[in-house]
């Protein structure tokens, strides 16, 4: 408190990082020390995670979102939020975090094969209820122990072999499916040829298992030789190299035509390369941790450590890149991802995930994440100012700074996009008792709302500059501290003075890459099995350009209100290839052009590629069966006047995420050093927050944003303690 008055914190932006910062600063433990106001462009919170309810109350997302089991900070805050929200399950079906999130155990990979075919692999990762993300971490269940990582690499490789490749009669059928795997379960009636083939597979398996045996033995030897001191590297390296070369020599010749074994071998090959690289590059002892290899591309680094080109091109690696849109300028021919960030992310994903590797949401991300946070923050007294678009962050001139005084934020200038009729805008709508965000603002709450609606005002579009007023917040008078939580793409336009006067900010915006993304959602009248997908609901990556990632989201249909209920729902997403020149603010038609481009991409994709996933969704002569799409305007299938052909696609949902704040943040090689930490104190009343900052994780994801928000809160209040930010001190 200051003079008995609270300290005023202006938080700009309403994405994950801003919400996390607000959640931390408004904790009851602070006893009202901070008076927090969140300034949000448009009508909804969420940033890149925002979602809305559209026609038929369908969920419309920015893209496909899953939470990973290693999102410790995100889950921790989410669980606290639901606990504090204390919803009554009798009146609200999503009352607890376990109602909101559920494990998504089926993970798919697609691998290109000869003659344009694609092998689809689906693996089952059984949920583990014993340890859930956000559970307290003790020394006995610390998932971030590097000792455990090293040993678990070998353990994972064995698991891959024993659960994915080795046929076991005891294994439940639905655990492994896709491709030829399901056909490998023991069956007394199988043909002689099949038997011979199976034994041939076992022969190969024997070799693979032997390799895993070596690796497993290595894991034990790691323990034998105790803690990895610096000098251990020199001992371990030759051994690893010898094992790697021996194993590769033995195995590479026997897996040519077997996609399953190829994939298993690729996983082993990559595991060996990672272990070798960790030793060879001194990652076990370097005080910079994995950052020391960030100048390398992840694929390049893996190759340096001996992985075969086939493994580097494997769907396992592609999926890592797809997961984080790691394609420079959105060009799928230019996969680029910092090796240290990639290795850290991979290890954390594989080895520190709890409960499940992926968790899906029961409704839109806005519904299950941002609406609960909004409600709790409101209860805590946090103020929300919607329709505030930040235009300029102002610094004092040098003459205004006292000798030795640190620079600071002097003023924040906003355009006000709309004024509320009442004191406060009420942003949420209820869908069968569940508070949700709408896809459009409630114009009836806005002054001249009807006219604004007629004019088609798009409050979230960077290119729609219309405003009804301006507002300037002055330091001391209106705020004390600022949390700048807008997307990186918006920094050049709003922080011109910072960029002009501070080289680090200049470097940051010049070097940290971002990319536009595209997302498509289609609702279908046939279920997935009828469409030809015989496997469980899956999240699949490494598929065909331009939509490498597909997720079966059929579980959301019951959350929506359709006149004719769809039976399947599919989400697709990918980076959107960038134009050579970034669009100018005067190019008002840019968003529409890009949206048209996404539409064309989607139609081409459905016509030409989706049959490799859903064989019966296409006609015999080729082309997508457009009639399977459910149009929310139709009361019954095939009703008179219904759209025909690919015109039916127009009833679906798709978007081009082209706004500067929507651009996905990349972790290009050599750029991590340009990130600025929320702890940075150069401007002594400013902290930054977002997945573009130096969050420790340094990659574009919810967890990085939440960590960053918690760091921003720490920068202002010294809480949470840095040691309590899970995984921040990860090497």
């Amino acid at each position: 408190m200051r003079e008995g008055k609270p300290i005023r914190v202006a938080i700009i932006g309403g994405g994950c990082s801003s919400i996390a910062a607000a959640f931390e600063l408004s904790r009851p433990e602070h006893k009202g020390k901070y008076e927090i106001t969140i300034y949000q462009v448009g009508w909804r919170l969420g940033g890149k995670g925002a979602s809305g309810r559209g026609p038929a109350d369908r969920i419309e997302e920015h893209g496909f979102h899953v939470w990973m089991g290693m999102y410790e900070n995100a889950f921790r805050l989410m669980r606290e939020c639901y606990r504090e929200l204390n919803r009554d399950r009798a009146t609200c079906r999503i009352a607890d975090w376990r109602d909101a999130f559920f494990p998504a155990p089926f993970i798919g990979l697609a691998q290109a094969a000869a003659k344009g075919r694609v092998h689809n692999f689906v693996s089952y990762f059984p949920p583990d209820e014993d340890s859930l993300p956000g559970d307290p971490i003790t020394v006995n269940n610390n998932p971030f122990s590097v000792a455990a990582y090293l040993v678990r690499i070998a353990s994972l490789l064995r698991t891959i072999l024993l659960t994915t490749v080795a046929p076991s009669p005891e294994r439940p059928k639905d655990h492994i499916s896709g491709g030829r795997l399901s056909g490998r379960s023991a069956n007394l009636d199988e043909s002689r040829e099949r038997l011979a083939e199976r034994v041939a597979g076992l022969l190969k398996l024997g070799l693979v298992a032997s390799t895993a045996g070596i690796i497993e033995a290595l894991g034990i030897l790691e323990m034998v030789f105790g803690s990895p001191s610096r000098s251990l590297d020199n001992l371990t390296l030759p051994l690893l190299e010898k094992i790697a070369s021996g194993a590769r020599r033995l195995l590479e010749g026997v897996i040519d035509d077997d996609p399953q074994l190829s994939l298993a071998w690729q996983a082993i090959d990559l595991g060996i390369a990672a272990m070798l690289g960790m030793v060879r590059f001194g990652l076990l002892s370097d005080p910079r941790g994995f950052d020391v290899i960030n100048d390398y591309d992840f694929r390049e680094w893996i190759k340096l450590n001996g992985a075969s080109q086939r493994s580097i091109d494997s769907p396992l690696v592609r999926a890592c890149y797809d997961l984080v849109f790691a394609y420079e300028n959105g060009d799928h021919r230019r996969p680029r991802h910092g090796a240290g960030v990639g290795l850290r992310g991979s290890l954390r994903l594989i080895f520190s995930s709890r409960g499940a590797i992926f968790w899906k949401m029961r409704a839109g991300m806005g519904d299950v994440v941002f609406a609960p946070f909004y409600e709790v923050l409101k209860r805590r007294g946090v103020s929300f100012q919607f329709f505030h678009r930040l235009e300029r962050v102002r610094l004092p001139t040098r003459a205004e700074l006292a000798p030795g005084e640190r620079p600071y934020i002097q003023a924040l200038e906003f355009d006000i996009q709309a004024l509320n009729i009442r004191n406060e805008y009420q942003p949420l709508v209820e869908v069968d008792g569940l508070p949700c965000w709408p896809s459009k603002p409630d114009f009836s709450q806005l002054v001249h709302g009807a006219r604004m609606e007629r004019e088609g005002r798009d409050f979230e579009s960077y290119w729609d500059r219309r405003k009804v007023a301006t507002k300037t917040l002055q330091v001391v008078k209106d705020f004390d501290f600022v949390v700048l939580g807008i997307g990186l793409g918006a920094i050049p336009n709003t922080c011109r003075e910072l960029i002009q006067s501070d080289r680090r900010w200049r470097d940051m915006v010049a070097h940290i890459g971002t990319v536009e993304t595209q997302a498509v959602q289609i609702w279908m009248r046939d279920d997935m099995e009828t469409l030809g997908w015989k496997n469980p609901p899956v999240s699949l990556s490494a598929f065909v350009h331009p939509f490498e990632t597909w997720a079966d989201m059929g579980h959301l249909i019951d959350e929506e209100r359709w006149p004719t209920k769809p039976q399947a729902l599919a989400y697709f997403c990918s980076p959107l290839p960038q134009p050579r020149k970034r669009p100018d603010i005067s190019d008002a038609y840019y968003p529409a052009r890009r949206r048209s481009e996404v539409r064309r991409n989607a139609i081409h994709f459905l016509n030409n590629h989706v049959a490799r996933l859903w064989p019966t969704a296409s006609r015999r002569k080729g082309g997508f069966k457009w009639e399977v799409l459910v149009d929310h305007r139709e009361r019954s299938p095939g009703q008179k006047g219904a759209a025909k052909g690919d015109a039916r696609f127009d009833s679906q949902y798709w978007r081009a995420n082209v706004n500067p704040t929507d651009r996905y943040v990349l972790s290009l090689p050599g750029t991590q050093k340009y990130r600025i930490s929320p702890l940075d104190n150069t401007y002594d009343n400013l902290t930054i927050a977002g997945d573009w900052t130096a969050s420790g994780l340094d990659t574009g994801c919810v967890e990085a944003a939440i960590i960053s928000g918690r760091l921003a809160a720490h920068a202002i209040s010294s809480l949470p303690a840095l040691e309590d930010i899970v995984g921040y001190d990860h090497p």
Partner: protein
Amino acid sequence: MSERKRLHRNDPSRGGPLRNFSNLYSQPGVLNGGSKAKDSATSQEGHDKTRAEGRPGEGVGLAYRVIEKYLAEGRLAAERLNPLSYGNGATAAPLQELVERMLRQQVEMLPLWLELFGSLARVDPARTGDPARANSRPMNNGSSSKHNISLEIASRQPVEVFLDLQEHSERLALVTSGLHALRPKARALTEIRFTPRKGESRSKLSIKIPARQPSGTYSGVLVDRANGDVRGTLSIRIGRSVSPRTTAR
């Protein structure tokens, strides 16, 4: 009205994450926690990791058991086929042939493993986790703190010497058949001489490293020339560890 003043943030205790792996390892709780977690995870496969923290012999023994386990896995896979293959004359021959090939190839892996683990068993006693043994190492071109052995090294490259000798071995005529690297192409170090000093309970260890000897760790057993008894091990590490600075683009 009192004038409000601009507030300043406190300087943070630090500006970034602590990335050092060794910090994690240096926390006994974390290391123990990780080990315990691993124990429970692998106990199903019969790997008693806690026992692996003992002397190297035990660890190597464990490694052998792992190898055996994987061989057994291969055999088990073969046995699963037996009721089918033996009951089916038409496919029995090719099946048996395939199974035999499988086992044969598994067995062919064995020498490689034995070589590897055998090498490990004789290098760097400091890794045993036995402080007493670790402390016995004479380090870096000096004289041993425990053994009365002086070092004389001729080398153009940085060298570290690890010597593990049984007690009362200093005055013996020790010989080695050469120190070998794990890299198959690296030639062995053969110019190793122990010279007992007359009238003294100490000896001199002379090591000559050829000018272009590849970097790496070279290890070998020291035996008593008189009776062939093994009296210890000698490991020499040449050159610096491979680092990003030397391997980077």
